[in-house]
Symmetry: C2
Subunit: 209 residues, 2 copies
């Protein structure tokens, strides 16, 4: 067969990505295969290579969409809850949104962190951009909490907190490695409370030194 033109290139791309995401959601990241995606969208496996350079490329695209999802979710929530919420609450909200996201989409979330392109791991521009946007969400409330803190300290705090929350998500996502019941919220609260209390204290003192 040839020349069906049922779908444009862009539509084909969209179909493939959606099918890939469904496959990942339903069967896990190791179930992702060119032939399975193709079967789901009624094309041959070779057709995928008309719109993606390879399966790696397709994964990067899925990751881009996952990242966009997360960003959209976070900015929507932040926008919505902006009504003079104390910054600590804003940070808590961000952390829990991230955690919920990782729990709701465990496989897509896993793909983001477990899909290493084999050779040199070149970080695409859009990813750097998206990560910076995520950091921005955390940075704003932190700055409110300590308006005069220097940029370096602020940057460090953003990353420390992000790593902390990510670690909670990572270890609780797959591993039933510890704690009975879902105590992830308690972990988040614990981390934020203790870290922030001292960080605010130190950061507001700092300016008078």
């Amino acid at each position: 067969m040839a020349r069906r033109n049922d779908h444009s290139r862009e539509e084909l791309k969209e179909l493939a990505l959606t099918a890939g995401e469904q496959l990942i959601d339903e069967e896990g990241i190791h179930a992702l295969s060119a032939r399975k995606i193709a079967q789901r969208i009624g094309y041959s496996a070779g057709a995928l290579y008309l719109v993606f350079t390879n399966l790696d490329d397709l994964c990067w695209h899925i990751n881009g969409r996952t990242m966009a999802m997360l960003n959209t979710l976070l900015s929507a929530q932040i926008e919505q809850e902006k009504v003079n919420r104390p910054p600590q609450e804003a940070l808590r909200l961000i952390a829990k949104t991230y955690l919920n996201f990782s729990a709701e989409w465990p496989n897509r979330w896993a793909l983001m962190f477990e899909h290493h392109t084999p050779e040199s791991i070149i970080c695409p521009d859009w990813l750097i951009h998206a990560v910076n946007q995520l950091f921005g969400f955390v940075q704003a409330p932190l700055r409110q909490l300590a308006p005069n803190v220097n940029d370096e300290s602020l940057q460090l705090a953003v990353r420390t907190l992000w790593c902390g929350v990510h670690g909670i998500a990572a270890l609780s996502s797959r591993g039933k490695l510890f704690l009975e019941g879902d105590q992830t919220d308690a972990l988040i609260d614990n981390l934020l409370t203790h870290y922030l209390t001292n960080w605010i204290q130190e950061s507001t003192n700092e300016q008078f030194v």
Copy 2:
């Protein structure tokens, strides 16, 4: 060929695991394959199935050895530095040892977290045991810092800190996602200092409430 008896079953197992680890170290976790391991040890691929149920099983064994390595490393360091080191320093040492380990063996470390057995992810007993041992390393200095804190709070603190350090290791290991230069040590110090300062304060107050 048959019946060479060059190696006992136990020796064959050991050979295969070592070859697998080397392969992972040199070429990454996706390069691991039965045929490649077999070639390295001068056996056929089928021979591996005489000592492992499948490649998944082999991975679990490698992960077990990696975990043992980490545990040995930590307990050796803790033993060595025991001479009245302040507990904060002990915690810092543990964190940095963990981080160094993940940097020194990035691929074996990745295998531990990225090797999900497809179907039900059953956590083997030895892993639960090993993880508890790791938690024990953190728990001891924490208890020194707040001798009268209740068990639940202590357990929570152990896990919060572990997740935090793990998050730093995870995000800095692959991702050049942020920060120029190796600022992982700064992140560790930042996390521990702020978290612990307030945690100690709260935990010592707690007993008088």
